[in-house]
Each structure stands twice: as C-alpha cells, then as structure tokens.
C-alpha cells in the first residue's frame, strides 16, 4: 500500500491570499489526483497531476485558480489562489496503487478555512 502525507494538515487564511498544499507519497506513482470536499459534501475531483506534463482539470476547475505542480513521481502540490470563503474545504490527494492497480489511497487531507 502507498503511504501519503499532506502538509499542512489545516490552515486558516485570509481572503485574497493563496495557499500551497503539498502531497508526498512513499513510492513512485504515475498518476496523482486532487479532490475537494466542501463542508458536508462528497468528494469532487479537481485535477489529475501527471509527471512531465500539465495537469488535467475537471469541468468547473481552472489552472489559474488551482495551479498544480508535479516535479517527480512522489510529490505534487496544489495551490488554491486568490481564496474566498467558498474555497473553505478539505483538500485530499490520492493515488492509484496495489499489485494490480486496483486500489486507491488517500492522504489525510488538508482542512482549509478562508475568512
């Protein structure tokens, strides 16, 4: 199984500022995913972070708002830019793993509150 860590675990930010969330995996993975979970809601995929190419964003999410970096096969960052209170959410990174790539692992999440 893959062990995933995220930093920070939580943060409180002022509107208009930006926050970068880090995701570190203990093994090399091809695909990393970033999800958002708004309060009381389910998880929604923001984007797929691919090493060596630009991230692929889902409908409703844009690179200017959520720039993603993937410098190597074990690390990725998600930046939440120009934050507003609507960005208050839990942000989770996830990877595909397992011997047959039939498992999906999640980081512990970053709880973001925007004032």
């Amino acid at each position: 199984s893959a062990v995933i860590s995220q930093k920070p675990s939580r943060d409180i930010c002022q509107r208009g500022t930006s926050l970068t969330i880090q995701c570190q995996v203990d093994s090399q993975v091809t695909m990393m995913f970033w999800y958002r979970q708004q309060p009381g809601q389910s998880l929604t995929l923001i984007a797929t972070a691919n090493q060596g190419s630009e991230a692929t964003y889902e409908s409703g999410f844009v690179i200017d708002k959520f720039p993603i970096s993937r410098p190597n096969l074990t690390f990725s960052t998600l930046t939440v830019s120009n934050m507003s209170p609507e960005d208050s959410s839990i942000y989770l990174c996830s990877v595909v793993g397992g011997p047959s790539y039939n498992e999906q692992f999640f980081g512990p999440g970053t709880r973001l509150t925007v004032l």
Partner: protein, 119 residues
C-alpha cells in the same frame, strides 16, 4: 459519464446489529471497480471494501460484505455486528478499470451516508 447515487443520507443501527447501506451507479463500461470508503471525523478516507466488476463473487472483509448486482447496477454494503467505531460517513465510489482511458484512476463518489451506531 458515470454517476453514483446513495439514496440514504443518514442511517442508524444498534450496536451488534446489522445495517445495509445502499448504492446504485450508472455506467456504460463493462470493466470497473467499486469501492466503499469510510470517513470518520478525522476526515481520513479509509478503504472498507473493493469489488472488481468482472468478479461475480461478492467481496467480504471481516464484518463487511457487499451485495453486488451488476445487471441492476447496485452495490450495497452490509455491516454485521455493528460497533461504535463503525460510526462515520460512508461513501460509495466508482472507478474505471480501463488503463489509459480518460477516466482511468478517477473516482466518482456518491453523496455519502452518515451512519450512527447506538450503544
């Protein structure tokens, strides 16, 4: 596009009893995975059980088992001998199993079911 529906926003069960959480999904694919995740207040997503669509046998993990009805596109989770520690939000999720496809690795989640366990 795939969709996942959990029609029970909340469920409750007495400790030691059995509870079933419902999940239906819609897809045109034939090869996929279905997952049940547990999310306690700590917010960590914990994999409870996984089902490969090509397997007819229902997956089981200790007190957790699924009823997978592929034709009906139904994937319910049964928790036997419920424990206080089972209280959490439970999410049903779908993932394509087609390597290289545009949806590969992407999870589609249901709305979630909050499970309360009464002592």
């Amino acid at each position: 596009a795939q969709t996942v529906t959990q029609s029970q926003p909340e469920m409750s069960v007495q400790e030691a009893e059995t509870v079933t959480l419902s999940c239906t999904y819609d897809t045109s694919e034939s090869d996929y995975y279905l997952f049940w995740y547990k999310q306690p207040p700590s917010r960590q997503m914990i994999l409870v059980i996984r089902q490969e669509a090509y397997k007819q046998q229902n997956a089981t993990e200790n007190r957790f088992s699924v009823n997978f009805q592929k034709a009906a596109k139904s994937f319910s989770l049964k928790i036997s001998d419920s424990q206080l520690g089972d209280a959490a939000m439970y999410f049903c999720a779908y993932r394509s199993a087609t390597p290289g496809g545009t949806s590969y690795g992407k999870l589609t989640f249901g709305q979630g079911t909050i499970l309360t366990v009464h002592p």
